[in-house]
Amino acid sequence: MDAVSTDFRAPDLGTRRRHVVDRGFELMALGALLLALAALAVLVVDVLSDGAGRLNWQFMTDMASRRASSAGIYHALAGSVFVIALTGALALPIGVAAAIYLEEYGSARSKLSRLIEINISNLAAVPSIIYGLLGLGLFVRTLSMDRSVLAGASTLALLALPVVILSTREALRTVPKSIREGSYALGATKWQTIWFQVLPIAMPGILTGLILSLSRAIGETAPLITIGALTYVPFAPDGIWSAFTVLPIQIFNWVSRPQAEFQENAAAGIIVLLGLLLIMNAAAIFLRDRFQQQGRG
């Protein structure tokens, strides 16, 4: 055929088939998206319909009880917040210091440094129960921390560290070279340059990474069960040596009861945990946006 038909509306089986495939792929992708959203929606609706009725001020402020109707979540919520705050307080300085060494002091091209980097990336993917076993052996037994808030937070800090180190290195890399040079040119030492110029600029990125790793840690149950936090603790922790329980463990306890009332409590507990996660992720997004605005400035 020499000339293509000039009537673009003329039927052409070849192109029609291609259009059908095109449309088909679009629908398939949309279907996949809706499936994911539907699963999430079913989960949220199911949890809300089960637990919303139980969610009231009494539930938020009361401690665990053997009677479902008078049981509350306060002790587990306080335990979660306490453990996660301590986890952050442990993971932030250690993670940032390790990242500063790797990024600023260690020679970036050395084989050892590359080996460490690969290992940190692998650690970030290690199943959390392994960290639990490490915590049991190291913190609970060897260091005799027992089943304390400190032992739980230390274990979760180990879990959070790889992500904190990786995101801190990423944040340090985004600080422009010109800022470092400007500082050095004024007679600043390396440490002064890092402390006064590099870290403040990198801080929003570092905090975003920290919060995201903490919001992973707050939902972790396995490592805490491993170190013995599954025992019935009906009170809020009053110090770092206190025994504790956390939201996911309390939810797990309630779910394993046969009575329907405890199932309601579990659903309400899930709502509280989801709310806490939402708040933490919103904080991370807020910090990231501020970071991007600074970058433009």
């Binding site: 040079e181 400007g182 050095y184 040119a185 004024l186 002064q192």
Partner: protein
């Protein structure tokens, strides 16, 4: 060797436009047989140059000729780039700055630097200037700190524009203002030498003119070395000009002579725009 011998330069009278008779200009920076390497690549070859106090020396030459690299050897700014190496002798006030035991922090306090792209810290105008004073413990009280900041901003001819907004972000300033703030920041720690790496290349003509006027004022108190791509700028602001070509110092002489009667054919071709 095409480089003008150092003896000759000492004999030539510096050009000072108007004003009182020129003060004496003792040798400030004396570089002898310097070679500089990035890894295996030699970026500077056998540099010999002698620069005098309270004069402006301009480095000209095409991109990649080594003029910025040479400038950065004078406050050892290249030290932070891994794999660099310096050979030869670089003396400032008779001291070898690459000798063992030299504290780069002290060197950089004496030899300040202004960069091509203005690089204010993302802090307030005041904090930008106060930073060098704080880290070097150069102000004993808050009042003294404030005085030194004002003095530096005045010296960089930017005080009038920023005095009412010292605590606003330095990033809100215009490009020209940011560059003068960076000059103020460099002056605050009272260096003796000021290295300027194409300080006006990113600025509009009016901002450029202000920087040039400032350079002219500053040479009363500082020894200034400026790298520039702009031949007219070199002719306007400098007393001496050094021409670099492929990592070598081709010619170094009084600016007037460099632009009207250079000794080297290569210099003549470059300043008249026939090559480079």
């Amino acid at each position: 060797m095409s480089v003008v011998s150092r003896g000759e330069i000492r004999l030539s009278a510096p050009v000072v436009r108007g004003g009182p008779p020129a003060p004496p200009h003792p040798t400030k920076i004396d570089v002898h047989d310097m070679n500089f390497f990035y890894g295996d690549k030699r970026a500077l070859e056998d540099i010999n140059i002698c620069m005098q106090s309270n004069l402006v020396t301009a480095f000209i030459g095409p991109s990649g000729c080594g003029k910025s690299t040479f400038l950065r050897t004078l406050n050892r700014m290249n030290d932070i780039i891994p794999g660099t190496r310096v050979e030869g002798r670089t003396h400032i006030d008779g001291q070898d700055i690459y000798a063992e035991g030299v504290d780069v922090v002290q060197l950089r306090r004496k030899v300040g630097m202004v960069f091509q792209k203005s690089n204010p810290f993302p802090k307030s105008i005041f904090e930008n200037v106060a930073y060098g004073l704080r880290i070097n413990n150069m102000a004993r009280s808050k009042a003294e700190l404030g005085e030194r900041v004002e003095e530096s901003l005045r010296a960089a001819a930017i005080w009038e524009e920023v005095k009412d907004r010292l605590h606003e972000s330095a990033l809100a300033l215009s490009g020209g203002q940011q560059q003068r703030l960076c000059i103020a920041r460099a002056l605050a720690i009272r260096p003796e030498v000021l290295l300027m790496d194409e300080p006006a290349s990113a600025l509009d003509p009016i901002a450029t003119q202000r920087i040039e006027e400032l350079i002219y004022d500053l040479k009363k108190n500082y020894t200034i070395i400026i790298v520039t791509h702009n031949m007219q700028q070199a002719a306007r602001v400098s007393d001496f000009t050094a021409f670099f070509w492929l990592g070598r110092l081709i010619e170094f002489d009084r600016t007037e002579k460099m632009f009207t009667a250079p000794t080297e054919k290569l210099t003549e071709d470059y300043v008249t725009g026939r090559c480079g």
